[in-house]
């Protein structure tokens, strides 16, 4: 079908109903038949993009503003876009441990949005779920955006740095709702993680060099082998039987 259907109207020319209807069809259906195409509004009703959710102290979350990739979301048919960082107000996370859903919330008279959080994913004409996070009763973790910025996304799980020593097994609970697709183990020589970071692919113990990570839908296992010199990391960049580990996982 020809697109656009509508054509220019000359000054003084009467506008026929066909002009209006073609223009309307162009606007709503990109010139297609209503039986073959959703309206643009229906098509973009679930649109959301570039929503980078980040932890914000203390126990809050932020949608980070990037002028080149501003967060955008359609809520209740309204097209909304961030013009600055959008912060969840304090006090949303209370009570027992639970998964919380982060909502983009629209307000009449505004073309941007605010944030809310709730233990239910139920949406409304003014709210739309854009991510989740886990509240353990005291702290927030595993902040996940459903509509992340282009490029490699933030990890779904981050253990933070923890001290390691050879001849130990560390079992972490990731609280993700499935088996991670990717797990990375990093090694640092200092607690702040400011040294050169080494991805750990192998450790040495029992006269053998082996991989040392395993994971399930709930746990991540990290083995520091019993070799004192290379039990925690065995790499051409560094070997160590101690230091600090950090586990990142993507769902």
């Amino acid at each position: 079908m020809t697109y656009p259907l509508s054509s220019d109207v000359s000054s003084g020319q009467p506008t026929a109903s066909a002009h209006y209807n073609n223009l309307r069809k162009d606007a709503l259906y990109l010139g297609q038949s209503p039986t073959d195409s959703l309206t643009l509004g229906a098509y973009f009703s679930r649109h959301a993009a570039n929503i980078k959710l980040e932890y914000l102290a203390t126990n809050r979350v932020r949608v980070v503003y990037n002028p080149y990739h501003p967060a955008a979301v359609m809520v209740g048919g309204c097209m909304l876009k961030a013009t600055a960082n959008i912060d969840l107000p304090a006090g949303y996370f209370t009570g027992a441990a639970s998964l919380f859903y982060i909502h983009a919330v629209r307000t009449a008279g505004s073309t941007t949005f605010t944030l809310g959080a709730n233990t239910t994913p139920v949406e409304s004409d003014i709210s739309r779920v854009i991510g989740t996070c886990y509240w353990d009763g005291t702290s927030l973790s595993n902040i996940i955006s459903f509509y992340p910025t282009d490029g490699f996304p933030q990890a779904s799980y981050d253990s933070g740095w923890f001290a390691c020593a050879y001849n130990n097994t560390y079992t972490l609970t990731h609280n993700l709702s499935g088996v991670p697709r990717l797990v990375i183990l990093l090694h640092s020589t200092d607690a702040a993680g400011t040294s050169e970071l080494i991805p750990v692919y192998a450790v040495y113990g029992d006269s053998a060099t082996k991989g040392n990570i395993g994971f399930t839908s709930s746990l991540i296992y990290v083995v520091a082998a019993n070799g004192s010199t290379q039990g925690c990391v065995y790499s051409f960049r560094r070997s160590s039987g101690s230091g600090y580990y950090r586990v990142l996982a993507w769902l």
């Binding site: 973790s141 740095w161 001290a163 079992t171 101690s242």
Partner: protein
């Protein structure tokens, strides 16, 4: 607030700034919450040699003697475990030092003797290998 994981024998296995719910305990392990920062706890007992800590230091046999530095803020003495032998150190220039010979090839594992008080992980444990 940080989390300590203690092994079955009460020694500190690891410490982390994250809540204990993120850690799955093995049989006999226990959790302890300590009101301090992760960085502060990490500095309670640090072993280093030639500026290296948290990673294995390799030296050639016959190299000059190794001066191992230990920082343990607030301690008047520290007991250090070197390959199972305990040495009590007194302060030198605000820290503690032990000198190791490189005459014989092998591995030195240097860590706190009191592993219920200090963590023998992170920068609290240093391994030095003397290669022929």
């Amino acid at each position: 607030m940080i989390t300590l994981i203690r092994s079955k024998d009460g020694t500190i296995k690891t410490f982390s700034p994250r809540p204990f719910e993120g850690y799955n305990l093995a049989l006999g392990e226990s959790i302890e919450l300590v009101d301090t920062t992760f960085e502060e706890f990490a500095q309670r007992f640090v072993v280093s040699c030639m500026g290296v800590s948290g990673e294995t230091l390799s030296v050639k046999q016959g190299s000059p003697d190794l001066i191992v530095n230990i920082t343990a803020p607030g301690q008047s003495t520290v007991d250090v475990d070197i390959n199972g032998s305990i040495e009590t150190l007194t302060p030198i220039d605000g820290g503690f030092q032990v000198v190791l010979s490189t005459d014989v090839p092998g591995v030195f594992v240097i860590q706190p003797a009191d592993r219920k008080k200090f963590c023998a992980a992170g920068q609290g444990l240093l391994v030095i290998e003397v290669n022929p």
